[in-house]
């Protein structure tokens, strides 16, 4: 990983964490409502995977604010969506869980656990059919690996040798249920072993995630078929803002907070890339400003009008046979 990439990843992680804390704050004040799933603690994985996977389509889950930003969607447009504003990336129709922007090849923001995996597989089919250089990145949590859609998707992607990377964010908890209570092992990649090559990576180690995803992108682009990466990480907050997190021990949370991916990245910037504290602080200040600007923008933006209620149900121009 070169220095510019490392800097960019650190900056986006710092931005992402600040974005999430700002979202939390504005949820508390009632400006953000509904379900809000924060990604704090998992920034290395979310950011490095998006930055590495630069030749293709991304299908992801409802815990996607940071991924959307890392993919290039403006923080302002993401925050405005959380506020339900017309200037939001989905013009207030989607909210926290449904961020879409095809101009960044970013398709969700899908809030049915595992339900987006068949869609990702279909898109991978389209890319293969079109002989495109694009592959598909499908991100999902450990909770998605116990449903039928997951196994159907592994099976078809493998049978058809599709260019798709299945990236499992294993943060150990499906809402409040620890994965080993509902699956026979912690490592969900084991489920993919009969279908495709698998790899495990430390999800709190941004360069490791970046390299693994880059390699995987290269692998699927060469037409070898699908590949599976499992990245182990941990979310600091509850599943959503309505989750007090009583199912986890303080000790466990402390252990993971000591593995803070942002502090780790900061250390790397200093030691490997010889950046000064002042340089790093400048990046953090830039992140603060970007989040401040996003919140201002969201707060000041107009809501959609009620007479726009039916906009976007159907394509505006319906061709009649």
């Amino acid at each position: 990983m070169d220095k510019l990439t490392a800097e960019d990843i650190f900056y986006t992680m710092a931005l992402g964490r600040r974005f999430e804390y700002a979202a939390k704050e504005h949820y508390m004040t009632g400006e953000i409502s509904g379900f809000l799933h924060l990604d704090i603690g998992q920034e290395a994985l979310s950011v490095a995977a998006m930055k590495a996977f630069d030749h293709g389509d991304v299908f992801t889950t409802y815990r996607e604010h940071i991924m959307a930003i890392a993919r290039g969607i403006e923080p302002k447009a993401v925050m405005a969506e959380l506020f339900g504003k017309k200037t939001g990336v989905s013009e207030g129709r989607g909210g926290s869980m449904h961020l879409f922007d095809p101009s960044h090849f970013f398709y969700g923001g899908d809030a049915i656990v595992g339900g987006h995996l068949p869609n990702a597989v279909g898109c991978a089919y389209a890319r293969k059919f079109q002989k495109s250089e694009h592959g598909v990145l499908a991100v999902f949590g450990d909770g998605a690996t116990n449903g039928g859609a997951f196994f159907e998707s592994l099976n078809i992607a493998s049978a058809w040798k599709l260019p798709i990377l299945f990236l499992c964010e294993n943060n150990r908890y499906a809402i409040g249920t620890e994965i080993t209570r509902v699956a026979p092992f912690l490592e969900q990649a084991k489920k993919a072993e009969p279908y495709m090559p698998t790899k495990e990576v430390d999800g709190n180690d941004a360069p490791a995630v970046y390299e693994a995803v880059k390699e995987a992108q290269d692998y699927i682009q060469k037409g070898h078929g699908p590949i599976f990466i499992e990245a182990f990480t941990y979310r600091w907050e509850g599943h959503s803002m309505s989750d007090p997190g009583t199912y986890r021990s303080q000790e466990e949370m402390e252990i993971w907070k000591r593995k803070d991916p942002i502090e780790r990245m900061k250390k790397l910037l200093k030691e490997r890339y010889i950046m000064s504290d002042a340089q790093i602080e400048a990046l953090e200040k830039k992140a603060d400003a970007a989040v401040e600007e996003a919140v201002q923008f969201a707060a000041q933006s107009p809501e959609p009008e009620v007479d726009e209620l039916f906009d976007y149900v159907f394509a505006e121009e319906v061709r009649h046979g």
């Binding site: 129709r93 089919y125 976007y312 046979g321």
Partner: protein
Amino acid sequence: MAEMLYREALNRAIDECMAADENVVMLGEDVGLYGGSYRVSEGLVSKYGEARLIDTPIAELSIVGNAIGMAIGGLRPIAEIMTANFSLLAFDQIINHMSKYRYMSAGKLTLPMVVRFPQGVSKQLAAQHSESYEQMLSAVPGMHVFAAGDPNYAYHALKAAIMMDDPVLFIEHELLYNKKGEVDFDTPVDPFKARIVKEGENITIVSYLKMVDDVMAAVPQIEERLGKSCEVIDLQSLNPMDTETIKNSVEKTGRLVVVEEDHYTGGYGAQVISRVVEKFFYTLDAAPLRIAGKDVPIPYNRKLELASIPTPDSITEAIVAWGKNNGL
């Protein structure tokens, strides 16, 4: 103009769309090498290859889910569900994904795709292969629901559905595949409009899919016994519903009957009557009549099976009795 079978009309519609646009692909169980369980895709794989006539595993959630991804990726997929009952496995994809992506993304994602599915009571297939789901599917905003009752509409509406940028659920009836009819290739059909199958003065009978044929078989008897004439409407598009055509007819006749094959409770016909009563109540000279399937799982035994759905005889008896009680 040509006389052809319903399944041939569907085949021709797909064939023409595939010839015109290489992004049109079809996927489903046995749609490729086998040619489709109802022979709808027969012969297409030899013309367009296995990459465009895609044989899938028996995994309906994925058939529709994959089609959604293909549409996002720039293709125009036609997904075939072998029998409506199996579509339940794909309801997450139909209801949570296909019909909502456009809205949730503020129009950034548009899914040009069709899900075709055969449904209805065929011959002694019993409860798990005889279902009708138009009532549930028409209740979902965000996709069009077409119901093809004859070869001409089947041809034109399927072509229109494939070319449309919105998702379409295309309902076919399993007993119609071998129905013969004229297809007028040169006169396009508006897929959203109902068709007046037969004009009449005194009773409006609204129906769709195979029940239109059963109504038409009953009409001569009804007209003879009541001494009145019937206007028969094939709805064709269930979502949106062409209330205008129904209104114009009921304004003329003052009487409304709806005939449907699905179960009485919650059936689609209730929606037709609800709209007429709510919006055009004073055009009615009598309470509307609804003839629907019974609220039972469809039985295997032929005698019981026929008793569970409307037939030409039961339609005749019901309408004649209702007519006599309502001043006809």
